[in-house]
């Protein structure tokens, strides 16, 4: 489980004729958190979803450019998308645990990838749940449905689920925007903890959240990457006027 850096080169995403992301080149250094911000429809979620080729599912979606993970360009036509996705975990805005028990939610992925030993699976379940600070809350009811948990717990379960298949990179699409402030704080703590082991890309609408959790911030507008810099600098002294306008709430 080693974090890996991620690089995009002139990445464009099209939905039919419409170009949703325009030639974006970005570096995501390993073990850092990068926040993608920008108004709705600016292409940040589309960009995020193209990083594990999840946009392939949408008919009419098309990618141009390159995405490098280590020395592999995952936009190559020959890429094995299925095994690629194992290396890139993903968390959604709305918690989406499987309709299975808490234990199964976690064990399902590793078992599919070949781990059959019950003891080993038990260990993976415990480690993953500990990493997301959920273990103490659920250890006595692992056989209950994942849907019986609260929203915040469900979201941490989903994060644990994606950690269980040992990804290098974590993509988070507004992971806390459907949660209450306490759960949000927990998720943010978790992100700070997880960046020791993973490269994390997070889309957020919450400016304070971006400032709190990320090392670098990228501002997207109308499909363009407007500015990408250290979070500190982006929020105190951005070099583009539109970044400043957005961050200080003058539009968007």
């Amino acid at each position: 489980m080693s974090a890996q850096s991620l690089t995009t080169k002139d990445l464009s995403v099209f939905y039919g004729e419409k170009q949703a992301v325009k030639k974006v080149s970005m570096d995501f250094p390993e073990r850092e958190v990068v926040a993608l911000i920008g108004p709705s429809g600016c292409g940040k979620s589309t960009f995020l979803r193209s990083l594990n080729r999840m946009n392939d599912l949408i008919s009419g979606a098309r990618i141009e450019g390159e995405i490098w993970i280590g020395d592999q360009n995952i936009c190559d036509p020959g890429t094995d998308v299925v095994s690629l996705r194992q290396k890139i975990g993903m968390v959604w805005q709305k918690p989406n645990p499987f309709h299975k028990s808490i234990y199964e939610n976690i064990a399902f992925g590793p078992r599919y990838h070949g781990i059959r030993n019950r003891k080993q699976l038990d260990e993976i379940v415990e480690t993953s749940l500990r990493k997301t600070a959920l273990w103490d809350e659920v250890k006595d009811r692992l056989n209950q449905s994942g849907l019986a948990l609260s929203g915040g717990q469900q979201q941490r379960l989903c994060i644990a689920r994606s950690l269980a298949v040992q990804p290098n990179i974590l993509l988070m699409d507004e992971p806390a925007s459907a949660l209450d402030p306490v759960s949000t704080a927990k998720i943010e703590e978790l992100i700070a903890e997880l960046k020791k082991d993973y490269t994390i890309v997070i889309v957020t609408h919450n400016m304070q959240q971006a400032a709190r959790v990320s090392d670098r911030t990228a501002f997207f507008f109308l499909g363009d990457l407007v500015e990408y810099d250290d979070t500190q600098k982006m929020f105190t002294n951005p070099s583009k006027k539109s970044t400043d306008d957005y961050i200080s709430g003058r539009f968007g």
Partner: protein
């Protein structure tokens, strides 16, 4: 004030309509049961019918109905679920699939007597399956398949997109995502729908008149060799079902107690369909709990 009046009138109308439907159903059910229940006994349910004397039963017909249903479902369920998975998950959105969808819609509202005629011409005569349980099961498959396909397709489509994406994001193959993540979520509605479709099949008569036939050979219920012509399990024997039997004794029954037999058989049919429906709800819930560990 005006909005309130309109609201009150609308509510009253809707309540009246609902009440009327309930009344109608209750009257129908009540009539069938009151007329039929008195005639139902263990003997009636198990003994063979009599052509000319009073006191005949519906044993073979009841068995035929159930057996034919099982045969039909064995053919329909895998085909219907397979096609449904294809239509919802694999088929591209183009003119061809739109056309297939249209055909499925048309087929699902096809008059069953026409399916019966088709069965007679193609399955019974051309394929040479004769009047047999197998012919009947194939005709009912044509009758039932469109509903199964649509049902499966709709159940899978109603599974939240995030469930599918979550499966794929873990590095699962598309097939594994469908079978292990999406089907468990969709299964309760697939099970419920299948059993409701089974109820429809159970009560079907027109499609069977010319395919499963209107006669039942003498059955030997101690002979369980499926290849023997007197065995109840032989799929190549003609088999009159309960619904067909009701139609027959009502139109040409010679037994003196034909009206009572028809009434009793109708009540049995209604009760069976009712049991199917209740069973469907129960099974759907149980399966969902089993698969999802929910309370």
């Amino acid at each position: 004030m005006r909005a309130k009046t309109v609201d009150r009138i609308a509510t009253a109308v809707i309540v009246c309509v609902a009440g009327f439907i309930i009344l109608l159903l209750a009257a129908l059910l009540g009539y069938l049961l009151v007329r039929g229940l008195g005639h139902i006994s263990f003997d009636f349910l198990t003994s063979a019918p009599q052509a000319l004397k009073a006191g005949g039963g519906i044993g073979p017909q009841l068995f035929n109905s159930v057996f034919l249903l099982v045969l039909t479902m064995i053919i329909t369920v895998p085909l219907g679920i397979g096609a449904g998975i294809y239509m919802s998950e694999y088929a591209k959105d183009n003119k061809l699939t739109a056309f297939i969808r249209l055909i499925v819609e048309v087929l699902s509202s096809f008059p069953s007597i026409v399916i019966g005629l088709f069965g007679l011409l193609v399955i019974v005569n051309t394929f040479g399956f004769g009047y047999s349980l197998l012919s009947g099961a194939l005709a009912l498959t044509i009758f039932n398949l469109p509903m199964m396909v649509r049902l499966t397709e709709q159940s899978l489509r109603s599974v939240p997109k995030e469930q599918k994406e979550a499966g794929l994001a873990l590095g699962l193959s598309r097939w594994k995502t469908i079978t292990s993540v999406m089907i468990p979520v969709a299964l309760p509605s697939i099970v419920t729908g299948s059993i409701l479709a089974a109820g429809r099949v159970f009560g079907e008569a027109a499609a069977l008149l010319f395919t499963a036939g209107m006669s039942s050979p003498r059955l030997d219920f101690s002979n369980w060799n499926p290849l023997s012509p007197t065995s109840p399990l032989n799929p190549m024997r003609p088999a009159e079902t309960l619904a067909v039997h009701i139609w027959k004794i009502n139109s040409e029954g010679l037994a003196p107690d034909a009206p009572e037999i028809a009434a009793g058989a109708s009540a049995v049919l209604v009760i069976m369909v009712l049991l199917f429906n209740l069973g469907a709800r129960w099974l759907g819930r149980v399966v969902y709990r089993k698969l999802t560990a929910s309370k």
